[in-house]
Symmetry: C2
Subunit: 326 residues, 2 copies
DNA sequence: TTGTATGCGTTATCAG
DNA sequence: CTGATAACGCATACAA
């Protein structure tokens, strides 16, 4: 490995001069030219670890994601990585695989790696999370959930829920079935649901709520039980994945979508456009969420003050899986 | 930040003793007990950078992936990360976003970060790749493509192709349409196709090949053009994504699957089981590929010799999207 | 503008 | 079994 010392020797100067040259300090034109050549010839690059040891700045930021194959986090990750790359930072992705302990562990691991900041794609913020953040003393941005003590990038889940609920009502549906998730997930389990229900207030709607998980397969199985008995004409899945699980069950049960049943989801995943019929859904700006998270984190790392909550907009996309009651 | 020096002072020993204690060297029971307490109390952890500076070993390995939302790479990544975590290594994921330049750039970036090794999920290995690997002098494992100069974990694509081709033939299909991809992707574009075609040799098959990309949308658009005219009774998509694109087009064109058209794909993606009808496909052990890649890389880092090619098996999963000719 | 000296936190060597 | 010391590669205060 070629070090700053090798360069200094070849150039016949002190290594401190080379260091200055590298970091934009005062160097004479002549030595600068000489160093230009020598550095290029050896294609020398400074040792990041030696630098970090001094500078206390690693130019690495960690991301903790709940699982790898989520359209939402993947899109956000893309935005995040891109912004980070432009500002010469490296993204370190850790997959917690839906496991809370691994999520906490990841915070500590990343802190040990001395990342400059952490982006957490969260379902839930527990006291253990807070403790871990406390101890690691690292700037944090949370994506997808809101929390009073941390900087958050969130989606307007209440609006999203309301859009779908109001759309169903406006199209004459009076019996509506919702496949939701546990309240542990604040954004989806509580806020989004609240938005949906708000649309029903004072409207004489028969409304049923059943609880499932984020898994396509679980939604499918539950739908297989629930659908045959339902009188509902409009079904809302709390995510597009859930909607797809429901759709599969409906197909197998020969319940035509949208004639027998309207179906809507949330997310705007690519796959909702590839199935038949295409699924009505709410499009969330996941990519922008990633970019925004990078922005905020970078500012935080610089020591700047930032607003605690950034709420992103979303909009309903009406497609063939839903129709008005005749 | 609490350092080895602080610990040493508190314990009234030399820091070298603490270091030995930390790294399993010879320490008396008494000082060991004392250090146990002090280290715990301060919850001291060694500074990774100072360690890396000495050890020339960062315990980080880099993964370069072509894109984030690929079922295949996500599964492999999961296996990879898990194995790495068990051996106390950190995974650094870099998304090249289908861009060859960014792929090359990533190799250099990771090398600068001094990762101990690199796992490349590749579509194609160009001379630039080779050059980058050469210069970075880092152990490399390539997943999904084979190359004579590097350690590779590959799938038996020829067998996979043959399975599907032979299945179609055995079920009486005589006119077969294949949606393939460019030959730049050796594994899918050449080997897999070769396997398919091998099954047709000497069988009096009318065989048509059309070329598309890996994108679901592209396959859909192409299918919309090609399907109306085709006399084929069996369609093979080179990946499950392509198959899904074809399926959407078939739905829109009111061509019933499987009665009018049998449809098969490759991969075993979860989504093939969630659509209706479920798609016949070849299941590849992506997760195992990741685990195996981690294994090999770790050995390589230790300086051990390893076989250059590991080929993984796969098997056909027959589902409702295909049926025999009546 | 340049060079010298020192420290960052750790591990390894070697003498005690 | 322990401690002093050098070394890893770099940045910087200070002197020249």
């Amino acid at each position: 490995m070629v070090t700053i010392n090798d360069i200094a020797k070849q150039a016949g100067v002190a290594k401190s001069t080379v260091s200055r040259y590298l970091n934009g300090g005062a160097v004479s034109e002549k030595t600068k030219a000489k160093l230009d050549a020598i550095v290029a010839r050896n294609d020398y690059t400074p040792n990041k670890f030696a630098q970090s040891l001094k500078a206390k700045r690693t130019h690495m930021v960690g991301a903790i994601i709940p699982r790898l194959n989520s359209y939402a986090t993947n899109e956000a990750l893309k935005g995040l990585e891109n912004s980070l790359r432009l500002s010469k930072n490296q993204l370190l992705i850790t997959n917690a695989d839906q496991n809370r302990e691994r999520e906490i562990e990841a915070i500590y691991t990343l802190a040990k790696q001395k990342v400059d900041g952490i982006v957490l794609f969260a379902a839930e913020i527990t006291p253990e999370h807070e403790k871990a953040f406390e101890e690691s003393a690292t700037p944090v941005v949370i994506v997808g959930q809101s929390h009073p003590n941390y900087h958050c990038v969130i989606h307007d889940d209440e609006k999203a829920g309301y859009s779908v609920g109001a759309y169903a009502v406006a199209n004459g549906h009076r019996n509506i079935l919702v496949f939701g998730v546990d309240e542990a997930d604040q954004a989806v389990g509580i806020t989004r649901r609240k938005g949906i229900e708000k649309a029903f207030v004072g409207k004489d709607i028969t409304y049923t709520f059943v609880k499932t998980s984020f898994s396509m397969m679980d939604a499918y199985k539950l739908a297989l039980e629930v659908l045959p008995e339902t009188k509902a004409t409009f079904i809302i899945g709390a995510t597009d994945n859930i909607a797809i699980g429901i759709m599969r069950a409906a197909h197998e049960l020969q319940m035509d979508i949208p004639n027998r049943l309207s179906l809507a989801g949330f997310g705007g995943y690519e796959i909702t456009e590839a199935v038949h019929p295409r699924i009505t859904t709410v499009h969330f700006p996941f990519h922008e969420a990633g970019i925004l998270a990078a922005d905020i984190l970078l500012q935080l790392i610089e020591g700047k003050e930032m607003p605690y909550v950034e709420k992103l907009d979303n909009h309903l996309m009406i497609r063939e899986s839903t129709q008005a009651i005749k």
